[in-house]
Symmetry: C2
Subunit: 199 residues, 2 copies
């Protein structure tokens, strides 16, 4: 921690991720990051091309893991059990030690998904997740249900009030609710027809 040891680059990543998550990407200045590390702004620019390049550096690893998950998901059965398995693995990725901080960063900086290149890549993977989850019923209703299932995982981090709830409980609760949504994808089909006509 205190060590003089080499890796300034990874120290920048750690501090930036922490501050970006706590106070927001736009609200955190490079001066602030530099000061916390006892260096100048210019030093940051030796290690990273720009502010959003710092984000890219700790996001690309997540992207790769998500790509692996999506690829695997495509080979799972397109039934309810397959969907549950896919989302279960997604939630492990989301709540897992290595990925949790980065996912929390995106949860706190949702506009980054639109305005930063690395954010758009993540957004893209999220859409692919929804697509693979709803491939048994790619109708708008199926897409929306898949999106909501994913959001159950994300939303469990802030929709659940009270600090007396553990991470493990959040995770389990998110999955329980998400499964209800997943199980309805492409279920009867009769529902959808009624819906379409009702309007």
């Amino acid at each position: 921690m205190t060590g003089s040891t080499g890796d300034t680059r990874s120290r920048i990543q750690a501090v930036a991720l922490e501050l970006f998550t706590e106070q927001g990407y736009e609200k955190t200045s490079l001066r602030e990051i530099a000061e916390r590390l006892g260096v100048t702004k210019a030093a940051l620019y030796y290690h990273f091309k720009s502010k959003d390049d710092i984000v890219t550096s700790f996001v690309s690893d997540r992207i790769e893991r998500l790509d692996g998950l999506i690829e695997w998901a495509g080979h799972q059965p397109a039934d309810a059990a397959g969907r549950r398995a896919i989302l279960q693995r997604y939630s492990e990725e989301f709540f897992g030690d290595t990925g949790h901080t980065v996912m929390q960063f995106f949860e706190q900086n949702r506009t980054v998904l639109t305005h930063l290149s690395s954010g758009q890549m993540m957004r893209d993977r999220l859409l692919q997740m929804a697509a693979v989850l709803s491939r048994a019923d790619p109708s708008p209703a199926g897409q929306l249900r898949a999106t909501l299932a994913i959001f159950a995982v994300h939303g469990s981090t802030f929709a659940l009030r009270g600090p007396d709830i553990t991470v493990e409980q959040r995770k389990q609760l998110a999955l329980d609710v998400a499964y209800e949504m997943l199980d309805r994808i492409g279920a009867s089909g009769a529902d959808e027809d009624r819906t379409a006509l009702r309007s």
Copy 2:
């Protein structure tokens, strides 16, 4: 439009809302807004205290309407039919002509909900909506289901791919899916117990 007519203030609001929604709050500069109106930055500061005061000016109206809705919701029956009625009115508020642009602004600028005073007020109302929807079952599971129901309405604006889908269809679809979630709030209770124990 071209007119020299008085209301610079409301012209600023209109242009700002449009640019903030299109390109994002942080990515839009006051210079840009001023130029588009043919005035200087300083003119903006005559009409508004600050950049985020412009946001407040067009959000406060939405807040008031939401307050009315929440107050009314508290008097509705705390059963499934009551919850459906509440969310239905919420979606009308969300998709309605007057409010839609402002709600789209928040959808495109979610970090504003955390970092701006007016955003926090809106965030507060959203939490109150979730609370009133889950008052029959204020457990974490109930809260999460209520939050997801609200998010079905919001998410229908971006989760539904394809431009061949009308606003009215989005609205109806969002409600259909949201109702599934609402109907499960405080339903059996047995589910929750199983969930709690399973972990």
